[in-house]
């Protein structure tokens, strides 16, 4: 079946550096993508989204890049802070899927001082 996955299970980043988290998806019909952040013991939190008619979207300290040619999504976090330590996962959706998303397994980001 279709799947969404992540390349790296754990990413260690020094405080102040930029982080890049990657996600591969296999459903070429996917047209809406979201990145979530999940801190320990909490529910996932929406970070940023992007639709398939765009290839880049920026938020506060975060940028999402979408490469539809290779079905790849990435999340860039600028000037990573200790509060950015969490599990990040991507989700994809098609407009005919009743708002139902497919989620990646997640990448643990650990920010070191």
């Amino acid at each position: 079946g279709e799947s969404v996955g992540l390349h790296l299970p754990t990413l260690s980043v020094q405080e102040g550096d930029n982080s890049i988290i990657n996600c591969a998806y296999s459903n070429s019909a996917s047209d809406y993508f979201i990145w979530y952040k999940q801190e320990s013991g909490k529910g996932p939190q929406f970070i940023i989204d992007i639709r398939s008619n765009m290839d880049k979207r920026q938020g506060q300290r975060v940028t999402v890049l979408l490469n539809k040619t290779v079905k790849h999504l990435s999340l860039q976090i600028a000037a990573t802070q200790p509060g950015d330590s969490a599990v990040y996962f991507c989700a994809e959706n098609t407009t005919d899927s009743w708002g139902k998303f497919q989620f990646g397994a997640g990448t643990q980001v650990v920010v070191t001082p």
């Binding site: 979201i34 996962f89 959706n93 397994a105």
Partner: protein, 111 residues
């Protein structure tokens, strides 16, 4: 601020008990979802609902049922809890064209 709330953060039940997990959203969303999250397995969809009194099976519905009597409320029921249902349960809601907004989760332990 949009909100999805779940009735309990932590719950401990015994094998064979009937368990109710409640979820309420205040965003007037049509769609609501129940997931379980286990280490190494990510989010797995149990059931979802796209309208009042409507429900659809997700990827792992066995051992669970749901109820959606009102638009804002989606309940997950474990008819007879088993130890392999020990997990983090997450509720989410969405509207067409939006992402899913999650609740804080309920960590259920079945002894």
């Amino acid at each position: 601020d949009v909100k999805v709330t779940q009735s309990s953060r932590y719950l401990v039940k015994r094998t064979g008990e009937k368990v109710f997990l409640e979820c309420v959203q205040d965003m007037d969303h049509e769609n609501m979802f129940w997931y379980r999250q286990d280490p190494g397995l990510g989010l797995r969809l149990i059931y979802f609902s796209y309208d009042v009194k409507m429900k659809e099976k997700g990827d792992i519905p066995e051992g669970y049922s749901v109820s959606r009597e009102k638009k804002e409320r989606f309940s997950l029921i474990l008819e007879s809890a088993s130890t392999n249902q020990t997990s983090m349960y997450l509720c989410a809601s969405s509207s067409s064209g939006t992402g899913e907004f999650f609740g804080p989760g309920t960590r259920l332990t079945v002894l």
